[in-house]
Symmetry: C3
Subunit: 307 residues, 3 copies
Amino acid sequence: MLKGKHLIQPNDFSLEELDSILNLGKEITENPQKYSDICKGKLLATLFYEPSTRTRFSFEAAMLRLGGSVVGFSEPNSSSVAKGESLADTIRTVGCYADIIAMRHPKEGSAYLASKYSSVPLINAGDGGHQHPTQTLTDLLTIKALKGSLDNLTIGLCGDLKFGRTVHSLVKAMARYKNTKFIFISPSELKIPNYIKEEIKGHAYYETSNLEEVINHVDILYMTRVQRERFFSEEEYLRLKDSYILTKDKLKNAKEDMLVLHPLPRVNEIATEVDDDPRAVYFDQAKYGMFVRMALIMKLLGVDADA
Amino acid sequence: MLKGKHLIQPNDFSLEELDSILNLGKEITENPQKYSDICKGKLLATLFYEPSTRTRFSFEAAMLRLGGSVVGFSEPNSSSVAKGESLADTIRTVGCYADIIAMRHPKEGSAYLASKYSSVPLINAGDGGHQHPTQTLTDLLTIKALKGSLDNLTIGLCGDLKFGRTVHSLVKAMARYKNTKFIFISPSELKIPNYIKEEIKGHAYYETSNLEEVINHVDILYMTRVQRERFFSEEEYLRLKDSYILTKDKLKNAKEDMLVLHPLPRVNEIATEVDDDPRAVYFDQAKYGMFVRMALIMKLLGVDADA
Amino acid sequence: MLKGKHLIQPNDFSLEELDSILNLGKEITENPQKYSDICKGKLLATLFYEPSTRTRFSFEAAMLRLGGSVVGFSEPNSSSVAKGESLADTIRTVGCYADIIAMRHPKEGSAYLASKYSSVPLINAGDGGHQHPTQTLTDLLTIKALKGSLDNLTIGLCGDLKFGRTVHSLVKAMARYKNTKFIFISPSELKIPNYIKEEIKGHAYYETSNLEEVINHVDILYMTRVQRERFFSEEEYLRLKDSYILTKDKLKNAKEDMLVLHPLPRVNEIATEVDDDPRAVYFDQAKYGMFVRMALIMKLLGVDADA
């Protein structure tokens, strides 16, 4: 039972709970109309202490497409924090108005802290360093919906594997499925950390700095943004940022049914010429993100039984 | 009949009108589901020329939980004011789109001015010096719902009684009920003004600077925030701000069924250790705030007859 | 068929399409209740890269009054642009969440660019220099609803005729109707450009710098704001801005059934003493603006057939 739970970290839920969300997400994808009134009378509060239009829209669209409604703010200065109020008090008050909360906050750990004071389910929509569990749900539903299953897949992860929390969460999540193979593609400066490799014990993995060498082996290619703020110097950023750009040319050797995913926003790590390739599913991914949030909201509110 | 009226000052309505709102608010509290569609097709505009997440959320949640919808802004710079438009013109235009308006504005008197040009009911959600009539309605509904009646109560008001408009409005409102006794608890620098005492003629009152001396007598303890901006100097603020902090220890002598109210946000005038005490109802108060705004919206729109 | 189309420029649609929108707008004006659920389950995204409360409210109120819902932002800094995302990617993503988009952007041509990447209908809610097609629709519906027809009218346009895109669009649109006569009233520095006069070939027109001389001839008087930013120097602005102010006195010679329109916001080009004159319809115009946007949304979403 997920009813009344919070979602703070990507792997808070058991595999069974996770699959129940993904299965419902897939059902919603196939028949969204069926669920268009199921959250009527329910209210989502979106508390964005840091702007993120994409994530906020995805949560709000999810709730609205379930027939629910939304109150929210998208800027820290709109909040009561300016008056010296603690996060705990804000959350306790918002819990008086809303049935469920999605919160994004720049401080690491703030989502966990908030959940301790929330009388309603609280979803972490990103906190310090971009712990971002609904992105992981999005990635998983995209793969499940388009590949049919999350088992027996070779997933290549490319770009900034050192700092990218999105990558770390996805790796940990995919390690819960059968027979996943990992290919880590990054410059040596941005390699996947050892503590993440510890988490995938029992699964085969391969590390390389050469995307072209391995592209023909992967079922899923997960591209990530090289964030300027992660680098020690501007020169280092400029030297590395273009190293792992996906182009039409590089795609030639890839499998016919490979999928290219990206958490978005992209800057230039995927050339726009790739967008029309049927394997490029990163915009579809945004749609699955909305559907999986619909499923998550339903599960946490406990309204799915009636469906 | 409240239909079509504005609410600018806390005591704009007759006692009969006030009671009709509070009675409806109590009914909504007990059976919110009954009213979940009553404002379908109605539109609330929230014009916040000064941010106040709590108040805005309360109004928006109220309208949405009545089945209505909301347009709004929460920042002065989103408004048309930047283009040199007068408040009068803005209100006349918004009245073309919306069925009811809740406005917060930093300038004293702006709500009254706006109401002169509004073709739809306008609710003052706070203007200069925080004239804030729906806070008073919130306080009254909390007391009525939890005490059963607004008559025969001893209310202690503690903290900044000189500048706090919330306190002044509540005192005036409580003076309309039978046999209210007032206990004013404040440092001598922040005593209740004489012109407020004029308004409670016929009611017993007592002034003290010692919270502990009187806490065992009160049925309602209304705590208020000591606002830094009200003080002449930083030293004076630091010396006084902690004088009237409610702690678990001080509560020991209070009545078993006393209620602690606070308009929120609090800073440190109530120790967090008090939050779990059943007498601490300041978060419930936020919920009553939403319910009383639901009642107010229904009354001003004239939709309650069908209920 | 307008279903699935974008609206980027005021004259994108054929006269037949335009009339179908205006006819539906008129029907909605007369019986808004009939359409209060027709967009249930549909989602409008309002992307305002430049604040414009009036226009945003008009679009959002339109969608909400059709039973649909809204996600949006009203400030550029809330957007993903800060992360280096292209407008194309933003639009592609928003198209995954929403069924229709209204976008305002400070850069000329951005609405056209965005439409190239939008999988859902995109409405230009103003781009550089305030190309603003729904303002033109608003003007046309106001005239049609209050005059009964768009044919055989003498329209006076007063103020800044050189830079005002609103005026240019309205002139071009009115030139599509039978027997329109134009009277252009402006200081010589702000005369209507020749390339606009080219567009009204076959229609009679008259130019003057004297409002009083011609006010008795016009059926529609379209007043415009003299924008400070359009002038080369502050002195020139101050000298000219008051030249074309409409007063009660000047109105004395106007026809009994003349209509005064203004795109709003006004600064002082119409004295407030005129507001109570029955010929002053600029606030009604705001209401027609909402109704015509309801019609437009219905047409672009293709939901009107069921009506």
